[in-house]
Amino acid sequence: MLFDILLTASFWAAAVRIASPLIFATMGELICERAGVLNLGIEGIMVIGAFSGWMAVYLGMGLWGGVAVAMLAGMLFGLLHAMLTVPFGLSQHVVGLGVTLLATSTSYFVYRLILPEVTSPPKITPFQPLEIPYLVDIPLVGPALFAQTALTYAAFAVVVITAVTLYRTPLGLAIRAAGENPGAVAAQGLSVTGLRMGAVIVGSGLMAVGGAFLTLSAFSSFFFEMVNGRGWICIALVVFGAWRPGKALLGALLFAGFDALQIRLQQTPVGQVVPYQMFLMAPYILSILALILMSRRAQVPAALMQPFNKGER
């Protein structure tokens, strides 16, 4: 039974699809944390991304226009988070939760402003799968990896760009140093505040694109509670990936694989015995297990959650 599932291409394709929004948001969070800022605004920023991207397309913009709007909206809330936590050095926990509450309620408020009475939200035409010639014919791997929407391909590209930037460019060097020892960055005449704010803003933009994936590629409409804790799961994935883009990607795929598996298991005889809620719990329980598993080994950025004030004596 398990093997039947694991040998179908549709299972693997689903896993990659489920992973896509997580990959965007996880990379976004990873960039923030590498620079030393924990961004608990992630959940709300994903909501505003999902909403604003969908809204833009609904109001007549193209799909990529929707992605751009989502990204801008995310960056705007990222700027708010960054302003409060970086130059003002306020509690990253409280500010993050506040940003999540604000971004979520803003999405719902504007949604109700534009569609006051609607009970079932209107649909848009989402991104369509884009088959890559020849590669798609590879058995199992082909349909899983090379028959996805453009946004999924973009997610993988983002991982590569993040990894190369962090490890192979002067900017990445400075970001990693800012999360480890901001004093070292300041001593070289670089602005810790600028680096951290930039990282949070760009990271938040990626989180919002992750949210937009849900409305523009996966579900084609926006509804309340659709992000449903994915942001928090991404925070767990960053820990699981030991703050490395490649490992975090693997974590997201592994996690999505389990999620796709539980959806399919619900259709099997197992699903007749075990209540569906238990299957739905699996992602959250897996995230907690991942956190426990990695807690001992993880290489946490040394200055994570530590505000930096150059005037401190």
């Binding site: 409280v94 402003l113 006051p116 804790g229 956190l291 004030n309």
Partner: protein, 349 residues
Amino acid sequence: MRLEPIANPGLGRRLGFPAAALVVTVVIASLLAAIAGADPLLTLGLVLKGAAGSKFALLETLNRATPLIFTGLAIAVAFRAKLWNIGAEAQLYAGAIVTVVLGTSVLSGMGAAALPIVGLGAMVAGAVVLLGPVVLKTRFGVDEVVTTLLFNFIMLLLVSYLLEGPMKDPMGMGWPKSAPLDRALRLPRIAEGLRLHWGFGVALIAAGLVWFVQARTTLGYEMRAVGLNPQAARFAGIPVNGVLVKTALLSGGLAALAGFSEVAGLKGHLSQDLSPGFGYTGIIVAMLALLHPLGVVVTAIFVAGIFVGADSMSRAAGVPTYIADMMLATGLLLMVLAIGLTKFRVVRG
């Protein structure tokens, strides 16, 4: 630009900035109302009227404030010890589940005398739910913010399962809700004819007790020490992990009382919409109260008033009720900023 700590901020600074935060919040809310096409002043008036314009409105506000006092206290207690309990929602439902289980089975025949036992049972359940993340924190160093958040989702699914399975009301005509609590186990009203139940009274007593614990007991002293400087606390011989566990028990228990009071005082049964996010709103309540337990009572009533008022305003003026959530989230961020600015001043160079 950099921040310079102020050694001894004056009273003006300590009150001025938070007051300014409140004013700016109201201004932003007015702007939102204007964006929604309503007259800001009229909207504000409607909110006030809806929250406190009549005896009925006022009692509605106090009823809504009751669970917020409990969750606000739960979070104030935890945050004071820098225990980031974001899982009050899960603890609330744990308390509600146990209230229904005890109140519809074992204790249903005992009459009102069993009420304190039911409440205590609920508290134990909430405490146990928070104990998990706290043990993960003290044993493995797992950040409790994420685990308590994830527990909220797990708990909601558990409630969904219980309401569709073992706890489903056979007389519920297919709705996912539990069987009703025994009549005798409902919290009585504070006065005959007043639509306000004793849960509010219990909440006030709880706030007083929490204040007493924080200000007058060794545990309160330990919790503050651990929150302000765990390294110094450990050096001085304060059992930091033990204090965190005790804090978790108290915090989880308080949040569970919100579930107990909603079921036994208001709804009479458990359903999936028992809490419209009281656990999360409790964070706003606690932060606006600057984590002071008596302040929590005031801010909980204030926050409840905004929700109740916005509900009735929305019907009359057509502004989405989510304006209340936006206003409170804005208020939270501005208040955090205001507190920051009382301790630091921004200087150039």
